[in-house]
Amino acid sequence: MQRQIPMFIVFVSGLTMIVDYFFPRVPYIQGAREIFLNWGRIALTFAMILGIMNLLMSNLRKVALRKAGWIYNVILLGSFALTFYFAVQYKMVPSGNTFITHKGTDMGSSGTMSFASKIFLDVYTPLSGTIFSLVAFFIASAAFRAFRAKNIEAILLLSSAIVVMLGSIPFGDSLFAWLGLEHILGHRNFSWLSTQIQQIPMSAAQRAINFGVAFGMVFMSIKILTGIDRSYFGGGGE
């Protein structure tokens, strides 16, 4: 029983979507898609509470037990409370006020901003952007250590990377004019070569990966709908 009911629910809700897609005239099911989608969104927002509870409880516990570094947990809890308070009360009436009244220049505006939008612009945005910008540095370090021409595969990898990089900068072509590539390839040059690499072998390989991914998706979907795969219960295959 424990497993049968959820399996039944999966089957029915999945089948409803499929029937709605293929047989749009079936009564009752018609339009079920939109309703289900709406329910799903609402349900997942409720589910978020599970995570938030987990986050708050584990941090509170660390603070209560004075575990090493508990002061950081206080910082986390404090910034959570502050943000949540301002962000949630800001737009109690859904229509009307704009959630973010940021009207002004790029990312550094003054004027009448709510505290919630100030947090968004001055804390959330720079942190999100900066953590992401770390990738730039890691790209350089990975380029240094991992692009060694050890075998044919590695040589292909690094040469196509270099060609595409040269091809995508505006003066890549003029920089290597002395190589006389124009004489060999006619009017063609690095940017041309880079486009060709991206359009032919890369596009082809990506397409193959996409096919495979789609097969995986289709079969996994069928297995889930028919109850063969039950990993979403946390039970693995059986």
């Binding site: 898609r33 939109e34 989608l37 709406n38 799903g40 969104r41 997942l44 927002t45 859904p94 229509s95 009307g96 006020n97 704009t98 959630f99 973010i100 940021h102 009207k103 002004g104 220049t105 790029d106 990312m107 939008s117 968004f120 612009l121 959330y124 945005t125 999100s128 952007g129 953590i131 992401f132 910008s133 730039a136 540095f137 350089a140 370090s141 380029a143 240094f144 250590r145 692009f147 060694r148 021409a149 050890k150 690094l158 990377a161 270099i162 990089m165 040269l166 995508s168 900068i169 505006p170 003066f171 890549g172 940017s191 991206q198 359009q199 890369m202 596009s203 990506q206 397409r207 996409n210």
Partner: protein, 276 residues
């Protein structure tokens, strides 16, 4: 010596890159760009718009990738307005709202476009769930997904939305998209089912994934990354942030290439000295 170089502390690499990028921002040069065919295709598609045509525009990106594709969003919005099109804007990313707002402030307002008549801001709807729910839902019933505009005007009272039911009422969907939910979902659900033409602006990194879609005519034009943005700015003769960042970008690229070459020199040198 060789061993030390082979196990070079990566912090030196970080420092060199930092100095190169900061330096090129402090001492900039203006570069001219040649337009890629995919960007040209995007331009040509939007250029076919006629006055009064309706365009759907999604701002599905956040601050982290904004330097790359926000300029393209501005340029495409400007282009659509120049063609006299009416634009319905929204975002499926909660971080996208400030950029949607900024685009209105930077493009629509200076061009004298009127809210709810020439454009409307439908605001944010959580895409979640890979966006498929919202993207699917918008196809047949836009009103159900966005019952009120961002400013709180009920859907039925907005002039631009009169008679608009779903994707089929729009000439084109401009998807400025940095991930999921984004252009992939639009291809899979909006284009596959409602055959709405898509013009996309994406980050350079996700561009290759879209190439098959462009070749397969599921996407009608693609503007990728800061370079794509700069090219689009060049096409509409309105230079902006895209063209401004190009020089630093080129220098950074050269630095990375230099590191690959340097890494290999050390590798071969090390192998040689081991053999010898």
């Amino acid at each position: 010596m060789i061993e030390r170089l082979q196990t070079l502390d990566r912090r030196w690499i970080f420092l060199i890159l930092f100095l190169a990028v900061a330096g090129s921002l402090l001492f900039p040069h203006t570069l001219h760009v040649a337009v890629e065919p995919y960007v040209q295709k995007a331009y040509d598609t939007l250029d076919l718009l006629k006055p009064g045509d309706k365009v759907l525009m999604a701002f599905d990106y956040g601050p982290s990738v904004a330097p790359e594709i926000h300029p393209a969003a501005l340029a495409m919005l400007r282009h659509s307005f120049e063609r006299g099109a009416k634009v319905v804007m929204y975002t499926l990313w909660n971080e996208g709202l400030p950029f949607l707002d900024a685009s209105i402030q930077h493009v629509a307002v200076p061009m004298g476009k009127r809210e709810n008549i020439d454009y409307v801001n439908l605001g944010f709807k959580w895409g979640g769930l890979q966006g498929s729910s919202v993207i699917e839902g918008m196809g047949s019933n836009l009103k159900a997904v966005f019952p009120v505009t961002h400013e709180g005007v009920p859907y039925d009272q907005v002039p631009i939305l009169q008679g608009v039911k779903g994707y089929r009422d729009f000439k084109v969907l401009i998807a400025v998209s940095a991930g999921s939910p984004g252009v992939d979902e639009y291809v899979r659900y909006a284009n596959a089912r409602y055959s709405i033409p898509i013009v996309a602006a994406v980050t350079r990194v996700s561009a290759p994934k879209e190439f098959p879609y462009v070749n397969g005519k599921q996407i009608y034009g693609l503007c990728s990354g800061l370079v794509g943005s700069a090219e689009y700015e060049e096409l509409i003769h309105h230079p902006g942030l895209g063209i401004a960042g190009l020089f630093a970008l080129s220098v950074a690229n050269l630095v990375v290439i230099a590191f690959i070459v340097f890494g290999n020199l050390i590798y071969f040198w090390g192998r040689k000295s081991k053999k010898g």
